[in-house]
Amino acid sequence: MKGRTLSIIMKKDLSALSREKTILLAILLQLFVAMFSSFLLVGLTSLYDPSLVGDYSGTQYRIAYAGEDLPLRFLLDVRGDIRVYPMDLSSAIASLKERKVSAVIYVPPSNPDGPDPITITLYTVQNDIQSAVINVRLKEVFIEYEEQLREIRSSRLTLIPVDLQFPEEDGGAPGFYEFVYGLLLPLLLFMPAVVSAALIIDLITEEYEHRTYETLLSAPVTMVEVVWGKILACFVLVPLQAGAWILLLMLNGIPIAGLPLVMAYVMVSSLALILIGALTGLHYRERTGAQVIFSLAVVVLMLVVLAIPGNPLNQVAVLASGGTVPGQGMILLAGAAAAILLSLAVTRSARGAAG
């Protein structure tokens, strides 16, 4: 394998890519996603954990309260973000339908120290984002009231859980943090790997289907050099795309720590995926079949990898959020070993494909 030939092949494929300008579509897509990331972040985060929507507002909510006057009423009254209006149930529900109140609480006559639980009914508007918000606030009040009632009935309790004191100020739901670092970031950073792997299939099968590889091989290059040149072309796109994601995330106010190691994981995993793509392309020499098999293989691989503790996506999540993982040299080494094995397989397959 000659370095010069490799770089010529690589440049040929890269320049074809940039001449077509369709790579612009990929960048446009990144921008498109990033531009609406405020919406996406709010939207996707609440998809992941609907209770988070509650953090996005400081307004007062109107609640209609119907039925018995229990201490619950007082707990609702003292909260700044809830305003309570006593009403009878029928007009309360009518108000809710007109959206003049956000929720209705109905409390039946009940005995705080009775044998039965106190059963209250919460009415909200169906399938509505606002209902999700009000639900979160009311949940806090209900939990507070549950504690009070538990205190009243404490003489009947036999098992007491160990006590843990949390700091006064609210820790907040971990959903947003975990969504950004534990899901969004790894997925975005590993997306370029999948794109590049699909690209290598396109590049390899195209030479076969257009019968251009025959012309190519009449020049003083070997099939191994052709394939590796293409692999390099796809590989250099990975840091560009991943870097763009990191930049866009940082612009959105999401700091990313441990960049060198994060990039190392991304590069090693991408190389492995690209090599798998190259193997599929070399085997089938035809795009449709290769892409179908490759997408199936990626799904299987993702499931298996995610089922293993300490997988690269997990590592990236921990590293990017500023944490440290013991023994990560080993994981990187294992990844590199897998990549080397795959490279040998690709070289062998390319040598065989020349005939």
Binding site: A16, K21, L25, L28, L29, F32, L47, D49, S57, R62, G67, S90, S91, A94, S95, K97, E98, R99, K100, P108, S110, D116, P117, I118, T119, T121, L122, Y123, T124, V125, Q126, N127, Q130, S131, I143, E146, R153, L157, T158, L159, V162, L164, Q165, F166, P167, G172, P174, E178, V195, L199, D202, E209, H210, G289, I293, A307, P309, N311, S321, G323
Partner: protein
């Protein structure tokens, strides 16, 4: 041979050539991978997804707490002596000493505290659910009930204020009639044993995934209608996503095969035999697309069976299916290479998924949601009827644009288009030029103008959906500029094509005449479309910005005319180089005119 028989012949040919033969080749590996997929699914179900392992580091002096925390693998726990712990407190996200939680003063620390609260809650519930007197441990039960309500469209920006009260001023008392409602039964219809069984069953999993997977399986998600306060989880606002994944994704996948099949005909001029057959090109296209149409319909119906929904749910999906087919054809006919095909199809699918998904988030909340046919699917799933006009509103754009795209494909399904290797924009112009007839320039321009309008509407709808959640002044400005730009681009397409493909056409007289014809076509097509669709949202400010042509006829006509005249003049003066500046100027003028119309809303 009748036409139907010809179509069937092509369909059979296509199935054999593009599906069965390559299918056989990949079959052994596909089967192997499917078996592996089953194994991998089992494996991940067994061990869970390890994406957030060891995100937080926790130090404690108490093995009991360590045991509780270690039950969640987001935490990495170290048990240390108290003095050591206090000295190295800074290296932990969270420290637990003497039953006190001391988080680090970082985002991670706060998130770790929140996560710990969840874990501690789970632990407490595990203890309480073993309590003999279960209702002493869980003295408060909450029953949730929902009512339906609809917001009107005259409240723009309500997406941005999604968390706030819609009408926070005025009396909270209802203004309408008050139907009498019987209070629910005070005594819970649940025995302590049933309740305990439910509590034990529900502990352990947080249930988010289950809630999504149960959405399709119909109701009956939880065993009991009563929840403890900590079990109370907010309703899922975005049920629609599961529909997108289940129903739209297969469509996208199948359309890939069509794209590839069309692309394959173009490689090495393989399709020459196909073109040389003495049949009309629409017959060839119909025959080629038939297997894929059938596959899409079959998969959708099969999915209906699987999720147990009525087959009626497929009805709003049919225009979407045709849209996927039509755009698959066009993409397959225009892409120059495999990598281009990949990039375009990824881009296309993302945009169309946005168009389908974002509006449907607001199903049951907002009329706006009807832009997406997925909303109608949600209605069907919720057994809520929709009217014919609602059906037309959400599907007509898909139907009309599919027809236009299919027509473009049929007109261009010939040698010089299929086997050319020009760039994307140039190919696009070529495709359009096939629809223009130099012998009848005015009629061609008129028809092209009319055909462009549904696409303009679609783009503007996507825009509307995207900016809808931004705060009001910003969203209005954005939509004003972007909508004008889209309209000006669409209007100029005809003149641009004429000027580049038929040199010498663009005399001053023709610029003027072309502008008048295009403006007229736009006006008439808009009116026609508005009749079917936009009447639903025309009353809002956004409606006024987008479709200001409702009340007066001569004002919109003049705006259209001014825009296209400017672009035409720029093309006449500067040739192709003059196009972009002309377009920008036209957009500016268009914006200014719209601002003038809007002055009543803004000042």
């Amino acid at each position: 041979m009748t036409i139907w028989a010809q179509i069937l012949t092509f369909a059979r040919w296509e199935t054999k050539k593009s599906l069965i033969v390559p299918g056989k080749k990949i079959l052994p590996h596909a089967i192997l991978l499917l078996i592996l997929l089953g194994g991998a699914t089992l494996m991940s179900a067994e061990s869970g997804l390890h994406l957030q392992d060891a995100m937080y580091s926790v130090g404690t002096d108490d093995p009991v707490f360590a045991g509780i925390v270690a039950s969640d693998n987001r935490f990495r726990v170290i048990v240390l002596d108290r003095t050591v712990l206090t000295r190295y407190q800074a290296s932990f996200d969270l420290v637990m000493v003497e039953g006190q939680v001391l988080p680090a003063d970082t985002d991670r620390g706060a998130a770790a505290t929140g996560a710990l609260m969840q874990v501690y809650d789970r632990y407490r519930n595990a203890v309480y659910s073993r309590e003999a007197d279960i209702f002493a441990a869980y003295p408060l039960l909450v029953e949730t009930a929902t009512v339906k309500s609809e917001l009107d469209f005259s409240a723009p920006g309500s997406g941005a204020q999604l968390a706030s009260q819609v009408r926070s001023r005025g009396s909270p008392l209802p203004s309408g009639p008050v139907p009498s409602i019987a209070p629910p039964d005070p005594v819970p219809a649940i025995s302590p044993e049933e309740f305990r069984a439910g509590m034990i069953q529900s502990s352990g999993s947080d249930g988010t995934l289950i809630r999504y997977s149960d959405y399709l399986g119909g109701s009956g998600t939880s065993a009991s209608p009563y929840q403890t306060p900590s079990q109370l989880s907010p309703p899922l606002p975005f049920d629609a996503i599961i529909l997108i994944f289940v129903f739209i994704f297969p469509l996208y996948f199948i359309s890939q095969f069509l794209m590839m099949s069309v692309m394959n005909e173009r490689i090495e001029r393989r399709g020459e035999t196909l073109l040389s057959t003495p049949v009309k090109s629409w017959v060839v296209i119909a025959g080629k697309s038939l297997p894929y149409t059938g596959a899409m319909l079959a998969v959708s119906l099969l999915l209906c069976l699987v999720v147990g929904a009525t087959p009626l749910i497929v009805l709003p999906l049919i225009p979407v299916i045709f849209f996927f087919l039509a755009s698959g054809l066009i993409i397959g006919m225009t892409a120059r290479s495999f990598r281009e095909l990949s990039f375009i199809s990824i881009f296309f699918s993302t945009v169309i998924t946005c168009y389908l998904f974002f509006p449907s988030i607001f199903a049951d909340v907002h009329v706006m949601s009807l832009v997406s046919p997925v909303t109608l699917m949600i209605y069907t799933l919720e057994q809520q009827p929709y009217t014919l006009s609602q059906f037309l509103f959400s599907t007509s754009l898909f139907s009309i644009t599919s027809i236009v795209l299919l027509y473009t494909a049929v007109v261009n399904f010939r040698e010089e288009r299929l086997f050319s290797t020009k760039g994307l924009v140039s190919t696009g112009v070529d495709f359009i030029s096939s629809m223009l007839h130099p012998g009848h320039p005015w009629l061609s321009l008129f028809l092209l103008g009319m055909l462009a309008v549904p696409f303009v509407f679609m783009a503007q709808m996507l825009l509307l959906v995207l900016v809808f959640n931004l705060p009001l002044p910003l969203s209005l400005i954005l939509i004003l500029v972007a909508a004008a730009a889209i309209e000006e681009i669409a209007k100029s397409v005809g003149i641009y094509t004429f000027s580049t493909r038929f040199p010498g056409f663009l005399t001053w007289k023709n610029v003027l005449a072309g502008a008048v014809v295009t403006a007229l076509a736009f006006l008439i097509a808009e009116k026609l479309l508005l009749l079917v669709t936009i009447s639903q949202i025309a009353e809002s400010v956004f409606g006024t910005v987008l479709f200001s042509s409702l009340t007066l006829l001569w004002v919109p006509f003049l705006i259209h005319l001014a825009g296209i005249l400017i672009t035409g003049t720029a093309l006449r003066l500067g040739g192709r180089a003059g196009y972009l500046p002309g377009l920008c100027l036209a957009t500016l003028v268009h914006c200014a005119a719209n601002l003038w119309i809007l002055r009543g809303w803004l000042w």
